[in-house]
């Protein structure tokens, strides 16, 4: 009898201890969650702050932009006079409609062809054995590390010889082969069991069908990630479009940013307005597709 009582006493004590631990744990959790939130908010502010200045300035008239920069006051961050002048000018005087269209067109075409060409190459690397495979793959990786500025002038000469200067071809084609995309796809393909492909082949599918109808649909996350990466790369591209195009009809966004700095004046408000729009587009694309983006990269490092 006494043993039972002892046991139940012990049991009660344990229960009390556990619930106390749980309570402190919970308190600890709340505390750590709280500090996490503080940390997150702090980081978010650091990230957003510079953009805030750009956004605010884009709604100011040109003469006001630097007036309230110092001394600090509420006026530094909130415009005293809100005007859409900058945004309107962008489209009426500077032809930004055309520029946006150009940049969009170039980016999307690069994505479409880029995905095709690079995933095809990745397919070859991942699922076949052939002579020179390792060498070629290394070559691909190496070229991915070549800085554009290093090859700018020779590249210009080649594109000139091909007659592609000041054309969409010149803007798009040199940027199509992309080592990073090949790498991403290859990692993903490696994870897909060969048996799946063999089954398709036995059923009489050609290699193309196997690639296009079986393998690629399984890779939607990678396609999303790769597409986003390529799109943003082309959207933000600056140096190459600068030297490869000259006429207004082919001008892309980042090059047009330079238009605001003329020899004698800088149109800050319009520059900020253009920047805001230039940031908005990739952000609007990337945010909703975030989850797929992360998924697409998952597995590209952890396995092999």
């Amino acid at each position: 009898m006494r043993d039972l009582k002892v046991v139940s006493e012990a049991q009660k004590q344990i229960n009390i201890d556990v619930s106390e631990v749980r309570r402190t744990q919970k308190r600890g959790e709340i505390l750590s969650a709280f500090s996490l939130y503080i940390l997150h908010i702090f980081l978010a502010v650091i990230v957003i702050f510079p953009l805030l200045f750009a956004v605010v300035s884009s709604f100011r008239p040109l003469e006001e932009i630097f007036r309230y920069v110092s001394p600090i006051s509420w006026r530094t961050f909130i415009p005293t006079e809100i005007t859409f002048e900058a945004y309107i000018n962008l489209f009426t005087e500077r032809g930004f409609g055309r520029i946006f269209l150009n940049t969009f067109f170039v980016s999307i075409v690069t994505v479409i062809f880029g995905i095709f060409i690079n995933s095809m190459a990745a397919f070859a690397f991942a699922k076949f054995n052939f002579r020179g495979k390792t060498l070629l793959f290394l070559l691909v990786l190496l070229t991915f590390m070549i800085p554009f500025e290093v090859i700018a002038i020779p590249l210009y000469n080649i594109v000139d010889d091909l007659g592609w200067l000041d054309t969409y071809y010149g803007l798009i084609v040199p940027g199509l082969a992309n080592g990073l995309v090949i790498f991403l796809y290859r990692q993903f393909f490696l994870d897909i069991p060969d048996s799946l492909l063999e089954a398709a082949r036995i059923d009489g599918a050609s290699w193309w069908t196997t690639y296009w109808r079986i393998l690629m649909p399984l890779c939607k996350p990678v396609t999303v990630s790769a597409s986003l990466l390529v799109f943003i790369f082309q959207w933000e591209s600056f140096m190459w479009p600068l030297i490869a195009t000259s006429s207004k009809s082919y001008r892309v966004l980042q090059v047009a940013m330079g238009d605001f700095v003329t020899e004698h004046a800088t149109f800050w408000n319009e520059m900020f307005a253009a920047s805001v729009l230039g940031i908005l587009v990739p952000v609007l694309l990337v945010l909703p597709l975030q989850r797929y983006f992360v998924q697409g990269i998952t597995g590209t490092g952890a396995k092999e």
Partner: protein, 450 residues
């Protein structure tokens, strides 16, 4: 292994073939004499010739000139490719450096004339233009547009600088501003003294709110050259490739010291990047501002109550004002040189020059137009009378930038030196470091300067 060897071989073969292209270019150079006939190498399209012009001039302003030219020359069309100012130079390097025939006419920033000539970008125009044409422009512009005796780039404009001031700030402090009178031109001492009185921290927060003085093109040689030049310091030897003993001479260092003092000793100038200088003046943060005559339009828009006076000078020294602007050149690799020369003549000396002046209002290098400014009632009132002051300076006190094939190198490194001085580096050290790099880079021009 075989694949690798084959690959490398192919690589070098391709590269080898392209080097033949370079040889071809040099052999064709010999044939390119002045006996070129307008019929021989024009475009394949019978009748119309299209000229490609690489420029940074504003499209709206050049359009009237282009229209007038095309009307007078119905079989020549001008296709203008416009670039932002900052990128124009790199673009010219890439395109003309690759010797493409796709460029006919380029804007030439006047100090680069020697550099472009030496790199073989510009076609000498003496054989295409009327020999009397040089008398149509002011001497400094002709000199600056020629290389080794040949005219390679006629001028479309020149430029001048004045001392602007913010009337409101002067009135608030009860100080008399500099007068717009050549006879009463202020010395730098007067400018500094006034600037010190006007520099203030109005709300006691430790940050200066009004600065007494600033240049428009901070640290840029175009703007600051009057400092050493006013003290009598040359920047180069006669050949234009040695700077040691010139750009860092005692007088040049003295000029550098003055610049240093503006920012670090007297603290009358704001250490801002060059792109923000004008905005600081228009928003009332700067009291006195040396800037180009082209600013009057923007100042009016900003609702600024301002006045202007002649460019200051060092007491006992020469009066020196910045000058020089854009010229036009014909590309050596163009296949339509005769037509291109026609356009250049029209723009710089013919009817185009007057149209350009009316359209863009930039200070002309054309002697007749310049002279007409003083008489023209259009320019009698403020602020248009700034052109009268500018015309005077351009004709009397303007000193062009140094003539050297290595201008870009020199300018870039002197700009860096002056930026360093502005940020607190010792002027002598900064200039000594600069000349070492400059002279090293300029060695390669030794063979071409006689």
């Amino acid at each position: 292994m075989l694949a690798l060897l084959l690959f490398i071989l192919v690589g070098f073969l391709i590269v080898g073939c392209s080097s033949n292209k370079e040889v071809d270019n040099t052999s064709s150079e010999g044939n390119d004499t002045t006996s070129e006939n307008s019929n021989s190498s024009e475009s394949t399209d019978p009748g119309t010739v299209e000229l490609i012009w690489i420029s940074q001039q504003n499209d709206e302003r050049t359009q009237p000139v282009i229209d007038a030219f095309e009307e007078a020359n119905p079989n020549i069309k001008i296709k203008k490719e416009t670039y932002p100012f900052r990128q124009l130079f790199e673009t010219i390097e890439v395109k003309l450096g690759s010797k493409t025939p796709d460029v006919d006419i380029i804007d030439v920033d006047v100090p680069l004339v020697a550099n472009y000539a030496v790199k073989g970008y510009l076609e000498p125009l003496d054989n295409y233009l009327d020999p009397d044409i040089k008398s149509k422009w002011i001497d400094s512009a002709v000199e600056a547009g020629s290389f080794q005796g040949q005219l390679v780039a006629p001028p479309i404009n020149t430029s001048s600088q004045v001392l602007y001031y913010n009337k409101t700030i002067f009135e608030e402090k009860g100080i008399a501003p500099p007068p717009n009178d050549i006879e009463q031109r202020w010395t730098w001492d007067q400018v500094v003294e006034t600037a010190q009185k006007l520099t203030s921290d109005n709300n006691g927060d430790g940050q200066t709110d009004v600065f007494g003085f600033s240049f428009e093109q901070i640290s840029r040689p175009y703007q600051i050259l009057p400092l050493p030049q006013g003290l009598g310091a040359d920047q180069f030897d006669e050949k234009g490739i040695v700077t040691d003993g010139y750009t860092n001479s005692a007088l040049s260092v003295e000029a550098g010291q003055f610049y240093y003092d503006l920012y670090n000793t007297w603290n009358v100038s704001p250490k801002i990047p060059v792109e923000q200088a004008k905005e600081y003046f228009t928003t009332g943060k700067i009291a006195m501002f040396i800037g180009g005559t082209w600013n009057v339009g923007d100042f009016a828009e900003a609702d600024l109550d301002y006045g202007f006076a002649p460019h200051p000078y060092f007491e006992g020294g020469e009066v020196v004002t910045p000058t020089g602007s854009w010229h036009l050149g014909v590309s050596k690799n163009s296949t339509k040189k005769e037509a291109a020369a026609k356009f250049v003549e029209f723009f710089t000396a013919g009817d185009g020059a007057k149209i350009w002046f009316e359209s863009a209002n930039n200070l002309p290098a054309h002697v007749d137009i310049l002279n007409s400014i003083e008489e023209d009632p259009k320019f009698a009132e403020f602020p248009a009378n700034i052109n009268v002051l500018a015309a005077y300076e351009a004709a009397n006190t303007a000193v062009p930038r140094p003539m050297t094939p290595g201008y870009l190198e020199w300018e870039s490194l002197v700009n860096k030196a002056y930026e360093d001085i502005k940020n607190g580096s010792d002027p002598k050290d900064a200039l000594d470091t600069a000349i070492q790099q400059i002279d090293r880079q300029l060695k390669k021009y030794e063979s071409v300067v006689k």
